[in-house]
Assembly symmetry: C2
Homo-oligomer: 461 residues x 2
């Protein structure tokens, strides 16, 4: 399995940073600092012939002079000296190289790119890049990127073909509190590509969802073969840029990838069980939900519980549009729901507790839904009111979930101001995907459903 | 014109709060407090037969005992005594009544609702409600709602048929720094309805965009007639819930409105030049852009300027999908753009300044685009990098706009962490619609284009 080869990349016992720098702002400084400050526990060796010491570590003139084994090398030197550095890495017995340097195929320098791939192959080294911002992997606390330092550990593996976008999104995930198991900048994909990474992450117990930003695919056949296998095990979400004719043209001038017909991509993704998101926000919305939610039960009817009728209607629209079935509430359950609302509330679906609802009514209605086997999914909606504190409503939901006999998918949308935003964060931190609009919650639920249905069609349990 | 009748509602010289309360948390307390604390400069009279003084103001036993004229009365008393209170208001010469109280048609009490409308008509009073959370209008600093206190003044008038959702969205606009000229809770629309309000806001110089959350329409013919006229003057955005069959059913149990076929609504909206948003986020995205952007020039080709190729590609896809034309960059302009990028950048469209761009390159490229008459629209994209501080990039954009010879629509999407979020806010505060994803920026631009095209077809300049 190709994935196995990648172990030295993700779990190196020692890392050399070749082209390490003493100057803040330089890539060779930022990467070394991120590695040290993020808490990597393995050995770290800066390589820079002009320095004695960098960031408190002894610096070596070249990789061969390091008096120890080196599993992985991060290379941030000018393109033209990458070949000789790689030869040295090969001689040293380095097993994986992360080539940050740019100046290869992306600017037409195809020969130089072929040369470095050949050197890597000759020495049985796997090569990530070139033209990348690095690699982050949560389990060994390895942040070998020149992106943001404080990435949140989590269970989403993010693979990006775009550099600037990838780094910017790393920062955005911190802001949005989205936890990542890995960030892999693949750049020119000269050696390691999406298929290799899918293979690795499919067996990685720390990764629950794989999210790829892609402009073009290398080794299309292998990619599809691997993707089909991986999607049986865990969800694969792809943002494939270049949906439009002009977008395809823009890709050509960006990464030089042949983007090809979008229809072909769409058909291929569908066949492989890949979930195709149309933009970044949607992709991470889905990823968050798929990383957190338990499977949808066989009886998959959803119940919407709301304190705002209008919000309930919009969610109902979204459920129908996204193919989420709503439960026809049976008589006995109607009577149950009625206990938690004033006479002018609605015990049908959406269950409208009305603006008079406090966290107590929310708790009662949610617990009722969670503990009834005819209910497969709970969608909790909330409009900020004076009588129902958003954090208390969030806590009521968490309590009801904790006490429930079975684990069902729950998603939430909460509308309001600052306090509501905090409650949304609280739910997300505790494994309930929560959003500021109903449509995003339901679209995420639909992604889970779509993925599960594909697996069922393919013969999974 | 019906709209003129509403002047006492929006510009009252004096307001009575009937059912004012001394108990925090009670609706009659919250409304009075909001009126006082938000800074309304007219006279305020609490009415409560059991109180001597409320919130430092002398309280009156009934509206007739107020020793002064009363233009508008906010009524928050139990439904069954609303008729007698209205009779007193009529005798007093009150010109507009805001009936907060619920317990009318929404719970089947149609007769009581007819009764209050008849009393209002008899005394030539306009009636807002019943079953509402009140009214906010920025020019007289009047926040007569029991919603959030610190609404941001601005130029979007928001009309909501849903109470809980309306209040929650008021809070959300504060969080998102979206300025509102008005919030009108229309509830049962017993007298004042969407057509009346459209009419008023069309002539209101403080309102640039009208945004309506609607479940059903009253007086469909009048609504369409007025909407068609208003949409020639300013954009009207509608979120019409009940797009799906189940959503229509949910509406019936929420407000009792007959939602009717969604296809009919869609066709009617289109004919009237109404922009139909599919959810809250989209509606406010559009509203923000339409309130801020200058008209699109006749030469309406857009230029995308980015420091991230991938982001540029996604924006290109979105432009093609939303019908925004991209400029084929002419030779001389290519040479101009080249000045602001390294050799491996792209001067075509998207103009890719690369991840090496600082605010200087952004400034140069943006100024070039803004000052070239072949460019009609500028779309600025940004991925957070170490070399380009997001706030400095935002400032560069604002500077270039300030110095530009002509005013062109500019929208922006900025991806990154906390600092980037601040830069997005800075742009929005200064009239450049900015978003955390490219698609939302371009969808907003497309809404402006769609509205302008409708007006042109209808014969506007």
């Amino acid at each position: 399995m190709a994935g196995r080869d990648l172990k030295p990349l993700f779990y190196p016992k020692s890392v050399a940073v070749i082209g390490a720098s003493r100057t803040p702002g330089k890539i060779g400084y930022e990467i070394l600092r991120n590695i040290l400050e993020y808490g990597y526990k393995g050995k770290v060796y800066p390589v820079n012939p002009k320095a004695e010491e960098i960031l408190g570590l002894k610096s070596y003139p070249n990789v061969l002079s390091i008096p120890d084994k080196v599993d992985m090398a991060v290379i941030a030197v000018p393109a033209k000296i990458v070949p000789s550095v790689l030869e040295e890495c090969g001689k040293k017995g380095v097993k994986a190289v992360v080539v940050i340097s740019s100046g290869f195929k992306e600017i037409g320098n195809t020969a130089l790119e072929e040369q470095i791939v050949n050197i890597a192959r000759k020495h049985s080294m796997r090569l990530l890049g070139p033209n990348i911002f690095g690699l982050y992997y949560a389990p060994p606390k390895l942040n070998a990127t020149f992106g943001p330092k404080d990435v949140l550990p989590g269970s989403i593996a993010f693979i990006s073909q775009s550099g600037a976008l990838g780094i910017a999104l790393m920062g955005w995930t911190i802001l949005e509190e989205i936890g990542l198991s890995a960030v892999v900048s693949v750049g020119n994909k000269a050696d390691i590509d999406d298929a290799d990474l899918l293979d690795f992450f499919s067996e990685d117990e720390h990764t629950k969802v794989i999210l790829i930003y892609m402009e073009g695919v290398r080794r299309a056949k292998e990619f599809m073969m691997v993707a089909k296998k991986v999607a049986m095990v865990k969800p694969v979400i792809v943002i494939k840029a270049g949906r439009s004719e002009k977008g395809v043209k823009a890709i050509a001038s960006h990464t030089g990838s042949l983007a090809g017909s979008d229809l072909i991509y769409s058909a291929a993704f569908k066949q492989c069980g890949i979930l195709r998101a149309s933009n970044i926000e949607e992709a991470f919305d889905w990823a968050r939900a798929l990383a957190q939610l338990p499977p949808i039960p066989k009886r998959d009817d959803a119940v919407i519980i709301t304190n705002g009728g209008g919000l309930g209607v919009m969610a109902t629209d979204a459920c129908q549009e996204y193919g989420i079935k709503l439960l026809e509430v049976p008589e006995d359950l109607i009577a149950e729901f009625r206990k938690y609302m004033p006479p002018f509330g609605s015990p049908y679906n959406p269950v409208d507790l009305t603006g008079q609802a406090t966290e107590k009514e929310y708790y009662g209605a949610i617990a009722t839904a969670l503990n009834d086997e005819r209910v497969g999914i709970v969608i909790m909606l909330y409009c900020e009111t004076a009588v129902a504190n958003p954090m208390k409503v969030a806590e009521a939901l968490l309590k009801a979930r904790k006490e429930a006999k079975t684990d069902k998918p729950i998603v939430s949308a909460m509308i309001g101001g600052e306090e509501t935003e905090k409650a949304i964060r609280e739910l997300n931190r505790n494994g309930i995907p929560a959003y500021p609009v109903a449509e995003r919650a339901i679209s995420s639920l639909a992604a889970l459903k779509k993925w599960m249905e594909w697996r069922t069609r393919r013969g999974a349990g």
